[in-house]
Symmetry: C2
Subunit: 406 residues, 2 copies
């Protein structure tokens, strides 16, 4: 028969196992972050290559394709080590399902590159294809953040995910601005899209700041070059706020200062990665020490009882109280952690609401994922509301749709 | 290297493993439900035994103690089969930690019974000890409900938990009413407590009804004897609403009609148990069939490509699209399920909020669990608010407390 003490220790072992799995997940997130960065660079370079009708960045593109392929290989190797036969992974179904979508999409990457090389598609189409790939990879990171069982690690993963997502919006803004300046003209839809990308970045970086430690926030401020930021703002004002006719020569300036900004973000991303890995190790060490302490205490509690011949698990009133305090304390601590975890994960809910509203539009209006997202964004712009509020409205509308339509 | 298809199947295998674990959890919940029912009967019988100064129910109590011990043995055997060495259990840490608290509390049960036999404590004290034991067992069921990864199973577990909790409030009301009638007098605090127990039952049974299928609701209505309910209401009105001097002879009437009501609830509980087990089996079968179908489709997709000598995983544009549809569909389905799951589990949040507020009061005001709960209940009564709203207010207050006090 197992006693309360057995389950006390078993609970701790579960905690350690959860943390060890989180550490592996953190590794995967770091590898995905590197791959996304390589894809973002390839997207930017491909844009210029296509925009210049193949006259510029041809060799840069080849180099970047090689770098990107290496990062992809690293990620695929890591994925191969994930024991897909082991079905115990927390949130395994959703995580693996996201990975399946990504791997499938990556199978199309060689063809995309070939078409870019042959200039068989526009810069806009190439950008859209890369955006989709990165979005799939970010979904894997999102699921990883959503699986965390430790509030501290969960905070770090939420900060990391939001930073990565913000950086991706910055990359999309770079591509959009480069195309708009190169075209020498921006229309209302382009301006709206631009503003949406700027606001989305701000939202992401705000969550990142809220969930980061002071040293990370300081590092983030330190790497940002005020001159670069000033230049980005100046060109944003010209392209996005003033609008109309634009000087095509600004395309290159825009691209250059955005790239410097995004590259400096990579430094922060690397710091976040290292902090996350350290945090996981620290939490594992801590939990292991606590397990040892608990075992030692239980042994000490059991000893006099054994000596006096009283069988386990009756330790006598005094020791009963110590054991009682231990099981109560652990139970309360785990509850408090669950509470904190819920609070941290609530920040992930906004994205989930938008994803679900998108899924609903795709299923019921037979829209593509892109079109569903654009429809939501357009509604938000027209109504002057936040994306998540519009998405919530779409979801609540679904409840009142006649059954036949659902 | 693993392909998208490998992860597509891996996601499905995870889903099946999750469902199989849920089925084992459902077994545990059923066994706990039987043990709680036995404890509730023992509590009632012990109450009358103590209230009659040992003149009544002495042999009934002995029989019930034996029955209860058998149910406890069954639960302990089942817990022993839970692989505590396997640390992969979803939500294992919290679940095992709750089990540790319960097992520890159960170690004190022989002593409690001996003191009851010797009439060394009051009926109120005995009731409080049993209430605490049942509350610990219900916490295990609550954690089990909180671990569910399948929305349908989660709904069934939420219904089951709320029914069990409602039945326990009914048991507490039976004990309180029996004591109050026996004493021949009810004061304001007694009336407030009584009203609280009635309202708590209503809240639980409402959630149970919301989350149950029509056949369960019908079965619930069918087993309720209108005459018994009428008698319960009549005596409630006398004891709880009118108050003041009471006829001590009503104690026996009250106890009898409450017991008939609670025994009929057990029939519904048994039905919920059977439905839950069936549901788990059905969902597992369904997921296995879908896995087979998916494997067959993937084989069919791969075959012509292999025949034509094109290496895996490039299936050609047409088959690419089929595979793409499959991975997209699965990902979307899992997302929709996660959305439903969040909605179902939101109903569990009220209890979590109350638990957390209780924990806060225990930690910062050095209150016992009982006193913390009573303090919350008193605040709710004084302010005419729901328990959960008061608990929420306590939690938000914690955020503004000076750091030194926290």
């Amino acid at each position: 028969m197992k006693s309360g003490s057995d389950f006390l220790l078993a609970a701790r072992l579960c905690e350690i196992a959860d943390l060890e799995q989180l550490a592996r997940t953190a590794d995967l997130v770091a590898i995905i972050a590197r791959f996304i960065h390589a894809l973002q660079r390839e997207r930017g370079i491909s844009n210029i290559y296509l925009g210049s009708l193949g006259s510029r960045y041809a060799s840069e593109r080849q180099r970047q394709v090689a770098e990107c392929a290496a990062a992809e290989g690293e990620m695929r190797s890591h994925l191969a080590t994930l024991d897909t036969e082991s079905t115990h992974a927390r949130n395994g179904a959703r995580l693996f399902s996201r990975v399946a979508v990504v791997l499938h999409a990556l199978d199309g990457l060689p063809l995309l590159r070939e078409r870019i090389r042959l200039q068989a598609l526009t810069a806009g189409e190439a950008t859209a294809a890369f955006v989709k790939l990165v979005s799939g990879l970010l979904s894997v990171v999102f699921e990883a953040a959503d699986t965390a069982t430790d509030p501290e690690v969960s905070r770090a993963l939420v900060a990391m995910f939001n930073f990565m997502q913000g950086k991706e919006f910055a990359g999309q803004e770079r591509a959009l601005g480069a195309r708009v300046f190169a075209a020498g003209y921006v229309d209302l839809a382009g301006q709206q899209h631009w503003r949406h990308l700027v606001e989305s970045q701000q939202g992401c970086f705000q969550v990142f700041a809220d969930f980061s430690s002071a040293d990370v926030r300081l590092a983030d401020q330190a790497v940002q070059d005020a001159a670069v930021l000033g230049e980005v703002e100046r060109l944003r004002r010209l392209g996005c706020t003033v609008g109309g006719e634009l000087d095509p020569n600004l395309s290159h300036d825009w691209y250059r200062c955005c790239t410097r900004r995004i590259d400096s973000m990579k430094t922060v991303e690397d710091l976040l990665e290292r902090n996350l890995a350290q945090l996981c190790r620290r939490r594992i060490d801590q939990a292991r020490t606590e397990l040892q302490d608990q075992r030692a205490t239980l042994d000490a509690l059991a000893r006099p009882a054994l000596a006096s011949g009283v069988p386990h698990p009756s330790f006598g009133p005094h020791l009963e109280r110590s054991l009682f305090a231990m099981v109560q304390e652990q139970s309360r601590r785990l509850q408090a952690m669950a509470g904190e975890l819920d609070a941290v994960r609530a920040t992930l809910n906004e994205r989930k609401v938008v994803e679900r509203a998108k899924g609903l539009l795709m299923a019921h209006r037979h829209m593509s994922e892109d079109d569903a997202y654009k429809a939501l964004r357009q509604m938000a712009m027209n109504q002057g509301k936040r994306l998540v509020d519009v998405a919530q409205a779409v979801l609540s509308l679904a409840d009142v749709l006649p059954a036949a339509q659902r």
